[in-house]
């Protein structure tokens, strides 16, 4: 393992506290990933990245900054990466998936805030996330009340751009989102010192579309009844894709997809006969949150798809690159991003349609609808989801959890009982 101590020091991180985090991660990776049998060889890339998740990519970002490039830290799949990439900037995800950071967040936020927000704030204020330290600017979005208010704390000493996501999907809302994208582009131009052109934006759209296509290939392989990859491994790939260079991400996903397609031809499966196929829907699973997948996949089931931001919503729908003006391209971006069926919209029938469509396409035996504690939007939408799935004859289990391990036993009982129910 390379020595990143000096880099972390230079980033002004709290090394003592960060060491504690670095000590627990290898155990978690070992327990969740290395115990699996028969993993695809191409997972070696993601195993390496996760083993030095606060080292390898941060070091690349710092090198890029030295060359004058700007790093944009984002929280959500609504932020159009294409704009930043066109301006020679870099987009990175930020930390927020571990219980380690939650107490730090609870020191400044109400306890009944979702763990994702608490962990993000804790990681930022506790100076234990290199990505938060590196980013030149944070880009937030108004997808929930908790985040809106948390940005006021996060943005105190780093420039913060907030994009106002519409709450409905009428034509005028899509136009409004187009204006938001144009405004974001102007701000990003000022930060990067580069000018957006039809050419560089088209090129960026193609780059991100390629990444989406590559991720979709991996997910398509999961539709096979001969399941070539575990849900845990697919989730890790998706989680890391928020942090990686988009071109390399596409290469690695394509390399993995090649192997998975070959596995399907060769009849190599990671599932045991009789394992139930589960689609998971709900709130995002930020790295290193593998709790739900791990319990499901050690309870006689396999996860075949994630209908969530760390899943299909990240790569479904390409951006039309045929426009001839920046205005055309902004509209194409707006239309693509507004197809995202986040629970922040009302009404949100698209999510129900997506879940049913994906459950069928991935041959799911059942759906688990799981939200993070205190996420009112997804929690309230559970009723609509379960009634729609019942009407379609698709079994559904609704769960709520956070980052703590203390409810693992209760979750396991519910999930095992659900699997027993699917077994009849």
């Amino acid at each position: 393992m390379a020595d990143y101590i000096q880099m972390w020091k230079d980033l002004g991180m709290d090394l003592e506290s960060h060491d504690m985090l670095c000590q627990v991660l290898p155990t978690a990776v070992g327990d969740v990933f290395m115990t699996q049998q028969n993993r695809p060889k191409a997972m070696d890339f993601w195993d390496l990245v996760i083993s030095e998740v606060h080292g390898i990519r941060p070091a690349e970002l710092i090198e890029a900054q030295k060359a004058g490039r700007k790093v944009f830290g984002t929280f959500c799949v609504f932020v159009p990466d294409e704009i930043v990439i066109a301006l020679n900037g870099i987009v990175t995800g930020l930390c927020g998936g571990s219980q380690f950071w939650v107490p730090g967040g609870e020191a400044v936020l109400p306890k009944n805030t979702c763990p994702l927000i608490k962990a993000s704030v804790g990681a930022r204020l506790g100076r234990t996330c290199p990505f938060f330290r590196i980013a030149d600017v944070y880009v937030g979005e108004t997808t929930c009340d908790g985040k809106k208010k948390a940005y006021e704390i996060l943005g105190q000493d780093v420039p913060m751009i907030i994009m106002d996501v519409p709450q409905m999907k009428r034509p005028k809302d899509i136009l409004k989102w187009k204006d938001e994208i144009a405004e974001f582009a102007a701000k990003a131009e000022a930060i990067t010192g580069n000018a957006l052109t039809v050419e560089n934006l088209k090129a960026a759209i193609r780059t991100v579309n390629e990444k989406r296509r590559a991720m979709a290939r991996v997910y398509d392989a999961r539709k096979s009844l001969n399941l070539p990859i575990s849900g845990r491994d697919a989730l890790l790939m998706t989680q890391i894709s928020f942090f990686d260079d988009p071109v390399r991400c596409a290469q690695m996903c394509n390399r993995l997809a090649d192997e998975l397609e070959q596995r399907i031809k060769d009849g190599v499966s990671v599932a045991k006969p009789g394992d139930k196929r589960i689609l998971i829907t709900g709130t995002p699973l930020a790295v290193p949150n593998w709790k739900l997948h791990n319990i499901v996949e050690t309870s006689g089931a396999v996860v075949v798809c994630e209908e969530m931001c760390t899943g299909t919503r990240y790569f479904e729908n390409l951006v039309d690159d045929s426009g001839e003006t920046l205005d055309d391209l902004f509209m194409a971006l707006a239309e693509r991003y507004m197809k995202n069926n986040c629970a922040c919209f009302t009404p949100n029938p698209g999510r129900i349609e997506d879940i049913i469509r994906l459950a069928r396409a991935y041959h799911a035996d059942g759906v688990i609808d799981c939200s993070l504690k205190f996420c009112g939007l997804y929690d309230i939408e559970k009723r609509t989801v379960s009634e729609a799935l019942r009407a379609e004859g698709i079994p559904v289990l609704s769960l709520e959890t956070d980052y703590e391990d203390s409810d693992a036993g209760q979750l396991r009982t519910r999930i095992e009982a659900f699997v027993e129910m699917l077994n009849g």
Binding site: R383, R390, E400, S406, Q410, T413, R414, A417, E420, M421
Partner: protein, 254 residues
């Protein structure tokens, strides 16, 4: 080759229940003991206490939250599936809605055509469980059975707090204001029933009757408040607290 006996051990948070059935599904041995602080020791003690003529020719299924503490079991099945199976056998029905009020969790299970079609469990919170009743009984210096008897003589009283800790403060407040213990007990039992009713709102109940299993099924007043909350009859059976263990024993035969 199937075994002559099926042994079902249901290690709950409060009590460990054991049922042995013969190949005809008839109950031939039964045991109930506190789980205590070590479910591993309890499971081992049960194994030792099983008559040797049974252990020599039996298969064993463990269930309940302590199911993994019985390494000698041939397999584990969750309490949801076992309670459903056991309740179906106890009540002789293929369609029923099981309410199981256990020590630390409350389950609602919908059975249709003999199979579980839906279920719900309370979250981490202990409101609406046996534990809630136990804590409140301690506050009123009676046993849970005593509390239920007292409640039957009480007048309607509302305890509105959902959390056990806050509800306990509310009960202490009622005591301070001189509210008769019977009325407080009435409120405690009704609070359990209301919480169970709320939980049922998340499910689509099936066409069968409501049946109560678990440790509270011997208390008639609990049944009455549940009937009032649901607005329909709630059945129970004398052995209903063994439903999970019976289901496990029947699974062991398969």
């Amino acid at each position: 080759m199937s075994a002559r006996f099926g042994v079902g051990i249901d290690i709950g948070s409060t009590c460990a229940k054991t049922v042995v059935v013969d190949q005809g599904g008839n109950v031939i041995w039964r045991d109930l003991r506190p789980t205590g602080w070590s479910s591993v020791d309890t499971a081992e003690a049960i194994r030792r206490d099983l008559p040797p003529e049974i252990t020599g020719n039996a298969r064993c299924v463990a269930t309940g939250y302590g199911r993994v503490s019985a390494p000698f079991a041939d397999r584990c099945v969750t309490e949801i599936t076992c309670h459903a199976k056991g309740a179906a056998a106890l009540f002789g029905l293929c369609d029923l809605n099981v309410i199981d009020i256990g020590g630390q969790d409350t389950k609602l299970i919908v059975l249709q055509d003999g199979a579980v079609s839906e279920f719900a469990m309370n979250d981490k919170c202990s409101a609406g469980t046996g534990r809630f009743l136990e804590v409140m009984a301690n506050t009123l210096a009676v046993t849970p059975a005593g509390l239920c008897d007292m409640a039957a003589r009480g007048a309607p009283t509302r305890i509105s707090a959902l959390c056990t800790v806050f509800a306990e403060s509310e009960v202490v407040g009622l005591i301070g204001r001189g509210t008769p213990r019977e009325n407080i007990a009435w409120g405690v039992v009704d609070s359990v029933a209301q919480k169970v009713k709320t939980q049922a709102g998340k499910l689509r109940l099936g066409p069968g009757p409501l049946c109560l299993t678990g440790g509270l099924c011997d208390f008639p007043f609990v049944l009455r408040r549940l009937e009032a909350a649901f607005g329909r009859p709630v059945r129970t059976a004398p052995e209903a607290r063994f439903a999970g263990a019976l289901g496990a024993a029947l699974f062991a035969l398969r």
